[in-house]
Symmetry: C2
Amino acid sequence: MIVVRTISQVRQAVADAKADGRAVGLVPTMGALHAGHYSLIEAACERGLFVVVSIFVNPIQFAPTEDLAAYPRTPESDLAGCRDRGVAVVFMPEPSEMYPRPTLTVVDVPQLGQTLCGASRPGHFSGVCTVVTKLLNIVQPDFAFFGAKDFQQATILRRMVEDLNLPTTIVVCPIVREADGLAMSSRNAYLTDAERRQAPALRRSLEMAADLVRRNRPTSGEVVEAILAFLGGESPDGIVDYVEIVDPESLSPVENTSDDILIALAVRFGRARLIDNMRVDAKPGRS
Amino acid sequence: MIVVRTISQVRQAVADAKADGRAVGLVPTMGALHAGHYSLIEAACERGLFVVVSIFVNPIQFAPTEDLAAYPRTPESDLAGCRDRGVAVVFMPEPSEMYPRPTLTVVDVPQLGQTLCGASRPGHFSGVCTVVTKLLNIVQPDFAFFGAKDFQQATILRRMVEDLNLPTTIVVCPIVREADGLAMSSRNAYLTDAERRQAPALRRSLEMAADLVRRNRPTSGEVVEAILAFLGGESPDGIVDYVEIVDPESLSPVENTSDDILIALAVRFGRARLIDNMRVDAKPGRS
């Protein structure tokens, strides 16, 4: 495994691999790698790809009020974890390598990026789209891997790649969870012990809601009310940012839970903002 | 020369050329090819590139009030002109091939795209950036060629390619003019005889202004006044859209004409909106 810091180095490594007939997989990350990230890396390795992992805490996807400076950074264990799993190249650029001057160019999918997490994180998804476009142009991978915890991000990036004819296939891998159901997230490190004990309620509220939907097909409003009541009892220290029932592709709110739906929520515990989601398909067994 | 209509066909042709070790040049056009376009094609051929010309009247860069439906289309002479000059592939997609569904993704350089032509053509440059990103992703050329008549477009696209790390070098070729100085444009076809006789005044006003700048280094305001007075006398049927003195890279207005400057103007004659520009460098002889 090689660790490179410049765009020209990663391009050279990928060009060499392609010249050897290898297909290339990119796993873009912000580091602080956990089992969720490693599941993406393993999925890429299992396909026999030449795997590039990027580790870059992208400043332009953080609002000034957000946790850019505090975002966890664990480069040594990240590199060990990548090496153990057969990664070929880790690309760890400095911000000055990715943004030698401020980007004036913006890539955005406004219709999909202003709801859900975008409503409370203005500019976040344009920052994500812009940096992912840059990474895809730098690495030019055949496949790029993202986790389903960031469902909105994955939906936006899939649409972006399609709209812009980027020559990369987006692969979305299932959410990886702790034993008690909490979705893996680098931001779980922010949780106090008390918050950590309450946080698995997010997942349980989604399971409760999915059961409700499968049994009764209630209105979305009824499902949201049930989740809010559940969280009020089970995670009293969590401040709900949103609970929404949306169409899984358009991300538009839906009222009727008889179609394919996505139940998505965001809850703040202190300085940790946690997200989770669950898809419920119209025909049981399809999802 | 082959003429292809689908993305997969043009990708295959380019992949074959690259496998043969050829470097690829793209000349993106909206058709109605004139000597300006052909100068781009010739510049690409002279570099020994595998030359792809795209001919696509991109609907998303036209406002609803603009001339999308009327835009001149001359496919037969375009193809003959490309064949004569050694073009390898002409890519002529239908709108449904480029936009199988409406693009939700937008690429934009707002800081450079809202002045000059962008002020009177809102959305124009985001439409240009989006389609050029698509074409660059489809063709993946080593070089892409644009004309200096559309100076703002070239400046925006150069910045876009840099910001997004697109693996393509933008080449900007000099303006090609009619014998009487009128810049070549597909929209010159809209001019009546009387308008056509007045239109070369645009270029003459720029030459007059450049002389004035080189001699006296007046304020930008004085230069603009001189151009307006000149056009008022020489092209009385032209309605000035803008006359501006800007920094050639940032496109911001400048007051001091002692630095490198760009003098840019747009004038409407009936339904033809014509643009022209001239660069005047701080040190004579450098430009």
